[in-house]
Amino acid sequence: MRGMEWFGALASAALVAVLYVALLVAPEAVGEGAVQRILYIHAPSAFAAYGCIFVAAGASAVYLWKRSPAADRLAASAAEVGVLMCTFVLVTGSIWGRARWNAWWTPDPRLTLMLILWAIYVSYVLLRAFGGDDEEIAPYAAVVAIAGVLAIPAIRVSSRLMRGIHPSVIAPRDGGTGLADPYMRLALWGGAVAMLLVAAWLVTVRTRLERVEREVRAVRRAADAAEGVV
């Protein structure tokens, strides 16, 4: 587990470094107040969320093609961590919205996309949880993960169709516009890297854990079967 410990340490260090820059070094955005700093968790989490989602979908596709149990375990873990990341995005987005515009939810297309993706991958997790035998439900879960990614273009376009009363609420953030100060950009992009590292570490740990969990479940089932309990 040596490698994993280094990895975990690295991810934590990156996160701490980013938080330092984000909270202390980067200047406060004009007119927005301290809450704006939540952007440095919000946007990077979105980055990591997409990373996880694409990994989950990719691993699912590999699973459907090769029926490799390792691919399936990776998909399952990535989807779970993806849900976690999406939750961060939604919660931080909500807090920011409440502080800035006094609204717990804003119909920002990007946030809508994240909400729908959250729902899709939550349903993936639920399907795995209630779908019975791991091996049996795997191809079906894989379909969900892949469908989720396929829906992204449609969700993006259709979210923009929903013009609410709010003007384009969250000013363009990632991509550089709106963030003049180099420390702000550092916090943002550094944050993206840090979150990706954290997500990658979580996924790796979770994948290994999944392997052990499945073996335990299999042994349990075999024991039950041997005793005549179904």
Partner: protein, 237 residues
């Protein structure tokens, strides 16, 4: 020397993590009627489903009439007729409608053959009567007709005699003998040792996931077979 109707090697299958079939090798030649005996839970139904290409084994190769099931699935599937515990027929449709559907699906052009099978089921006249409203024996006949409709070279039947009255049993017996005459190969699982002796050109016993015993040829003495069965299935394997 043409390929055997069925050639299966090294069939392994697990269920919930523990092995149900542990390396089964099985060959059936044209014109043979092989009977498979075994206690409940031995894996007979699982084996038959795998041979019918409806279930994937963890390992093993299956060739049907020389065609490899992995590489030439359509060709292999075409040559198999399978009847499991359930009829595979739609309860809301009549016998005629069910057979017409499967004939369509398999591309069976021979209307005479289809009509003949339909007549055999005894339900030719019940044009609109859904199978739901028919007795088990009649449904079983329709199910068998469905399995035989496309003239498969290999017929797989899982406990076909269960729940049949004497008349239906007799009809099934006759049908199986006709099949043998026509040169089709059959692999049948039964529960009843006596029936196994009378039915088969060869008898196999499946126990704890392996083929524990095989008769060389036809079984002359049912009593001896019963004794052998008891002996073979005594241990837990």
């Amino acid at each position: 020397m043409s390929a055997p109707a069925l050639d299966a090697r090294g069939i392994w299958r697990d269920f919930s993590g523990h092995p149900v079939l542990r390396g089964v090798d099985l060959t059936v030649e044209a014109g043979e009627t092989v009977v498979l005996l075994g206690p409940n839970g031995a894996g007979k139904s699982t084996l038959l489903r795998i041979l019918a290409l409806l279930l994937r084994p963890r390992a093993g190769e299956i060739r049907i009439g020389g065609h490899d099931a992995g590489r030439e699935r359509a060709e292999a599937v075409r040559r198999v007729g399978y009847l499991g515990h359930e009829s595979g027929c739609y309860p809301d449709l009549s016998a005629r409608e069910n057979l017409a559907f499967y004939a369509d699906l398999f591309g069976v052009a021979d209307a005479v053959h289809t009509d003949e099978l339909l007549a055999w089921t005894g339900l030719a006249d019940a044009e609109r009567r859904p199978l739901r409203a028919c007795s088990r024996g009649m449904v079983q006949r329709v199910a068998l007709a469905r399995a035989l409709l496309h003239r498969p070279a290999l017929v797989l039947l899982d406990e076909p005699f269960t729940g049949l009255d004497p008349a239906a049993t007799e009809a099934l017996d006759a049908r199986l003998r006709a099949l043998r005459r026509e040169g089709a190969a059959a692999l049948i699982t039964v529960h009843d040792v006596a029936r196994a002796a009378s039915l088969g050109t060869r008898v196999l016993i499946l126990h704890a996931g392996r083929l524990a015993w095989t008769s060389g040829g036809a079984v002359a003495d049912p009593a001896a077979l019963a004794e052998t069965y008891r002996a073979v299935t005594a241990g837990r394997g």
